[in-house]
């Protein structure tokens, strides 16, 4: 009985992913018929030459980024929640998002080209987590509490630095750009950017996917996990490095995209229970679908593009509330 509903969920997620992928390609200011879209994807000729341009130059890279970034943020969140055995953990628990935000605002202030902004954001994200790790080390070991507390401190430090830059930034051109960047957007993605930017995300996702069952062991307390014969330092290190790589590169490419890292893993748990063997794949599927849908709405709902973070929260909150009310937070 239970197995049956789970298989239905899996099919449901896959169908939703494919459907939203096609929707993302055909919907927009320039409407493309589904038939033409499929034809172009299969390499066949269509009458309208614009179709190919719109698909390959704009929508296809953007949709692929949405899929990878959404999947990545959801997996990173699920992994952190398991590692800290705390349902409130997010990909930002160790300060990577605020660190990357600071890097990006810095890049914007110095008028760097978009690839430069991505670079500074990615590097500052890594630096922030590196700092957190260094601060939390006491006698060669970092306890989870120390990691969380150091993460909070570094987060608020970088947040203050972002505020500082916003305060001194030119309100005519730099400040709006920073503000818009901080709200997140997938606009302006090309295949070239995709090749560079998504490699860290893909590596991180693959590592966490391979470690998915081990994340269950990691969620036990220190002594229990050690007694299961796990190399705690190595496992924690791998989890932190993978999640950080994913999140830093997502933030670098798309700006601040909130909510996915906490919303999607919990929805996955309500569907499949707490076993990370299922939570991780489910998070990948649901995260990808969710960000694809959000991005499609963001660019087609109004004449001007809406920021991603606003939509993830506005659409995510009611869905989450309904699910929370119906299931009480656990799988029924």
């Amino acid at each position: 009985m239970k197995k049956k509903t789970e298989i239905l969920w899996v099919i449901g997620i896959l169908v939703a992913l494919v459907a939203s992928f096609i929707a993302a390609l055909v919907i927009g200011r320039y409407q493309i018929p589904v038939k033409d879209c499929v034809k172009v994807l299969l390499g066949m000729k269509v009458d309208d030459p614009n179709v190919k341009t719109v698909l390959y130059k704009i929508r296809l890279p953007r949709s692929i980024l949405a899929i990878i970034a959404g999947a990545g943020l959801a997996v990173a969140g699920a992994a952190f929640q398991s590692m800290f055995s705390n349902p409130l953990a997010t990909p930002d628990t160790l300060g990577v998002v605020t660190g990357a935000s600071f890097g990006a605002t810095l890049g914007i202030m110095f008028h760097l080209p978009s690839l430069g902004i991505q670079g500074t954001a990615f590097i500052m994200g890594l630096i922030a987590v590196g700092l957190v790790y260094m601060i939390s080390r006491v006698k060669g070991e970092s306890t989870l509490v120390m990691l969380i507390l150091s993460g909070m401190v570094i987060s608020s430090l970088f947040e203050a630095l972002v505020s500082l830059i916003k305060y001194v930034a030119d309100p005519q051109d730099v400040l709006p750009e920073i503000t818009y960047w901080l709200m997140g957007s997938l606009a302006g993605t090309s295949f070239k950017k995709l090749y560079i930017g998504t490699i860290p995300m893909l590596i991180g996702i693959v590592i966490l996917f391979c470690l998915r069952w081990k994340l269950n062991v990691l969620s036990l307390n220190d002594d229990e996990a050690k007694a299961m014969g796990i190399n705690l330092k190595l496992m924690r290190g791998l989890t932190i490095v993978s999640s950080t790589m994913i999140t830093a590169s997502v933030i670098a490419m798309c700006g601040k995209v909130g909510w996915i890292g906490i919303l999607i893993p919990h929805i996955s748990r309500m569907m499949f229970g707490n076993n990370n063997k299922y939570v991780i794949p489910a998070s990948i599927g649901l995260g990808a679908t969710y960000l694809l849908l959000i991005d499609t709405i963001a660019r087609s709902a109004t004449a001007a593009e809406l920021p991603i973070s606003i939509l993830t929260a506005i659409l995510g909150a009611p869905v989450f509330i309904v699910l929370l009310r119906r299931t009480g937070g656990v799988k029924t």
Partner: protein, 305 residues
């Protein structure tokens, strides 16, 4: 497995040793009970024994070879650890929980196979808890959770089980279930056990050997029946006890009855205990301070005049 701790001592940070010259040894199918009052260092001893905390001096030997010379994963294929049952933030089903015990046998990137899964179910059956399959760990009783944790340790196929107060917080029946499970595992499968316990009766009922930790840092190790006597328990717990045996259906049962708190050593007592003899002490110290105050006043007066 021959498990031995050799002249080991331990203390936290810069504090003096709390465990001094610990020495014990158990062989295949033997049960060792560790007894001692609250705060004397029983759990610390287990953590040191398990290598979670480093000994200050001395060492742990497995089959005569020092702990440090074994590969980490090889140790945890042979030793199963059963912590005190606690609920966690994310609750797994019982069989998922037991399956985690297979981890020591799996490589870094590998997933448990169908065989591991079946083995986990067998372990639940072994402790008589197969009715719990499919239930969440947060939805079963404390006694059941403790049995699930024992099953998880068994999933490792251990030669030695180390249990931290497994029968605490349980009612009579569940205590017996846990204790009998440990006994049967030793008898039928030759699995050795080291058990921290608050119940000398349980120690007498199932264990071959016993280690009693005293508050002054000394300890006594030997055969359970010889070591656990009224005198030693009185010293270790500051409690006057009587040990009596009687027959029920041709089996000897032993009970340990606490009679009263031993008063002479009340001042040495630690924090974790109820201070019954307080009044006496307090009155005395009150008298002391008064005496001092009076004499102080007198000296002041003398100086003034």
């Amino acid at each position: 497995m021959n498990f031995e701790v050799e002249h080991a001592s331990f203390g936290y940070r810069k504090e003096p040793d709390i465990l001094k010259d610990i020495h014990f040894q158990i062989g295949k199918g033997e049960i060792l009970s560790i007894l001692g009052s609250n705060g004397v260092g029983k759990t610390t001893l287990l953590k040191c024994t398990l290598g979670f905390l480093p000994w200050r001096s001395g060492q742990t030997l497995i089959d005569g070879k020092p702990w440090g010379e074994w590969k980490n994963q090889d140790i945890w294929k042979r030793i199963g650890y059963v912590p005190q049952a606690k609920r966690s933030a994310f609750s797994y089903t019982t069989e998922e929980m037991v399956l985690l015990g297979r981890n020591a046998h799996l490589g870094l990137l590998s997933q448990p196979s169908k065989k591991d899964y079946d083995h986990a179910k067998e372990c639940l059956e072994m402790v008589g808890m197969s009715r719990l399959i499919g239930k969440l760990c947060n939805e079963i009783s404390g006694g059941e959770l403790q049995m699930v944790l024992i099953a998880r340790a068994l999933a490792t196929d251990p030669e030695l089980l180390i249990l931290d107060e497994p029968e605490s917080n349980l009612d009579f029946k569940n205590q017996l279930i846990v204790i009998h499970t440990i006994r049967d595992l030793c008898r039928e499968r030759g699995i050795s056990s080291i058990v921290n316990t608050h119940y000398p009766e349980h120690a007498l009922a199932i264990s071959h050997k016993a280690l009693i930790l005293n508050r002054d840092g000394t300890n006594a190790f030997g055969n359970a029946e010889e070591i656990i006597n009224e005198e030693r328990l009185a010293k270790a717990f500051d409690v006057d006890v009587r040990i009596r045996s009687f027959m029920v259906a041709e089996n000897t049962h032993t009970c340990v009855l606490p009679i009263d708190i031993v008063r002479k050593s009340t001042r040495e007592r630690g924090d974790g205990e109820i201070r019954v003899a307080m009044e006496e002490d307090e009155q005395e110290s009150y008298r002391d301070t008064r005496r001092k105050r009076v004499s102080k006043k007198q000296t002041i007066r003398k100086e003034v005049s």
